[in-house]
């Protein structure tokens, strides 16, 4: 009986918290700063969740994720400033552009495994960043793209603190929901098989190459969506925002949070965005403190703050009656 209610309870609580409770508290505080930090944290939550899909779930270490984030941001910015496309369209189009980029990267690097794949993505990331920087005629190069319009739809101005927050929150919840459904399904099981042993997965009849391409396309789609949100909420982008350091930052988020765990990725993103801000009072040593927090969280919890095993247990206890022995549900996996 409770099993009928529970599958809806947890997502509802999360959605309510993100869409009602947090904005209400932020609105009460009247602080644009807190709104801004929350928006950045949510954008990076999407980014971390998408990288987690590649690296945590499918086991392909990617060191060039910032590049797809950048493709999305540039696609949205160029569409919005030069062709006046409204943001409802630029966000999915940015995702598609990044996904196409992801497939183009994935195609030649299919055969690579482990660290070879990681370095190939690093090289791709640097090439994409270099292109954004040096292809001056198309991307305006280091001049960046200023005056990207904020969220406006059907005459409704969502460019204020609350409006931007809600748009980003809705997109984040939708992205996380899709990634969650993909992770905890037969599809996700196939990906985990790919991660644990791709040769074995191959011999079991899983099309490894196709799966890798799909994973990359899906994850890059969401990275592109995150990029579009960044472009619209910031109003000015330049290649500097998509350097190698950003890829490493996102990787650090998912490792601190717990590889392979979606809640972990979100927690890691929130932690690594909020922590440097919260540490502003300590002044110039704050980055040393951030480094120390990262170090000790990995040292003490090498499987992450909210590791994959705990994440799977949570999913099973709250949604997946079918994964428990002796239940009457007919399906085996959680659909």
């Amino acid at each position: 009986m409770s099993k009928r209610i529970l599958p809806l309870a947890l997502p509802l609580v999360v959605a309510l918290a993100v869409l009602v409770l947090v904005p209400a508290l932020l609105q009460a505080s009247g602080s644009g700063y807190l709104f801004r930090v929350s928006i950045t944290a949510m954008i990076f939550a999407i980014l971390a969740a998408s990288l987690n899909f590649i690296t945590g779930v499918a086991g392909l270490l990617s060191l060039g994720h910032a590049a797809f984030y950048g493709i999305g941001a540039y696609a949205a910015a160029l569409l919005a400033t030069q062709h006046g496309v409204p943001f409802l369209l630029t966000i999915p189009l940015a995702g598609v552009a990044a996904a196409i980029g992801g497939v183009l990267v994935a195609l030649p690097t299919m055969r690579l495994v482990s660290i070879y794949f990681a370095v190939a993505t690093l090289g791709m990331g640097e090439i994409i960043h270099g292109t954004l920087l040096n292809w001056v005629d198309f991307t305006r190069g280091p001049m960046g793209i200023p005056a990207i319009p904020s969220f406006k739809v059907f005459g409704l101005d969502l460019s204020g603190n609350l409006g931007s927050y809600l748009v980003v929150a809705v997109v984040m919840l939708a992205s996380l929901w899709v990634l969650h459904r993909l992770t905890h399904s037969y599809y996700g099981n196939a990906l985990r098989a790919l991660r644990e042993d791709d040769q074995c997965a191959d011999s079991m009849g899983i099309d490894v190459v196709r799966l890798k391409g799909e994973v990359f396309a899906i994850a890059c789609f969401f990275a592109g969506v995150a990029g579009a949100l960044w472009a619209h909420t910031t109003g000015y982008i330049s290649p500097n925002d998509f350097r190698f350091g950003e890829s490493i930052l996102v990787l650090a988020m998912i490792v601190v949070g717990g590889l392979g765990s979606l809640p972990g990725a979100v927690i890691g993103a929130v932690l690594l965005i909020v922590l440097p801000e919260a540490l502003r009072p300590v002044g110039d040593v704050r980055m040393i403190v951030v480094g120390c927090v990262m170090f000790f969280s990995i040292l003490l919890l090498p499987k992450g703050l909210f590791g994959e095993v705990s994440a799977l247990n949570l999913v099973r206890s709250s949604f997946g009656g079918g994964w428990k022995a002796g239940t009457a549900r007919q399906s085996i996996g959680w659909r």
Partner: protein, 304 residues
Amino acid sequence: MFDAFFVQQLVNGFSVGLVYALIAIGFTLIFGVLNVVNFAHGEVYMVGAYAGVVLITALAPPLVAVVLFVMAVGAVAGFGLERLAFKPFRRFQDEASLKSKAMREATLLSSLAVSIIVREVVEKVFGGAMRPVPFESQLTDPVQIGELSFSTGQFVIFGAAVAMFAGLQFLLYRTRIGLSIRAVANNPLGAKYVGIDTDRTIIATFVVGSVMGAVAGILVALYYGSVFPTMGFAPGVKAFVAMVMGGLSSIPGAVICAIFLGLAEAVATEFLAQGWSEMIAYGFLLLTLIFFPTGLFGGARDRV
């Protein structure tokens, strides 16, 4: 036809490649044994350079003394790094942890965290700006041979790279500790079963690799005439790329690829803007990996 400018470009590229190679040697050694990326290697290189510059500024000793001092600093740095960022993660010896991706990524991140801390501390202590090396000690004097220009630093770096490479080959193939390093690199569990003290071997590897990194740091600092906190980052990434192109476990492969990367960048600058020529190096990386998925000099793929 002898094109002096083109040959000069090759010289330039070769010396850049040597810098990458100096870093790549230590990098590859550590990767070969532990099979994890040591993100802090660039910081060992930076710390070595700073230690050397501090000594030169204070005492102005001869180059040999500086190098010996930096070697000692590198050894301590390597030992400390291993204890701090790598040793704690070997407490999980059960099979599930050994196979777990999360565990392998954890050491990658712990070394990254250590590198952030070290870099920020150095920046706090010495400032973020470039620090000049005293002019008397710099290895920047021009040496003109015909139409080509060299600098003293290029010869020193070339000599050091040859010496390091030869020394390492000797250490790996002619000494007992080298034998155990190769054994652990090949199969840690097997090495343990035949009675090799894997812990000690790993520490020895870190010490040797970090000594090489630190010496590379000070030599390059003398060659460029300055040190700065982020000096290890860009060449560190290139060394990483060279290591992978070379096939991960092959030190000669990493050296050859590092020099190739330097040459490729220099020659590409001849035809393109510098901004694009950096991408040529990454382009070569991708081409190499597409046609040789385990690097140019790598063995068969390892099963995780």
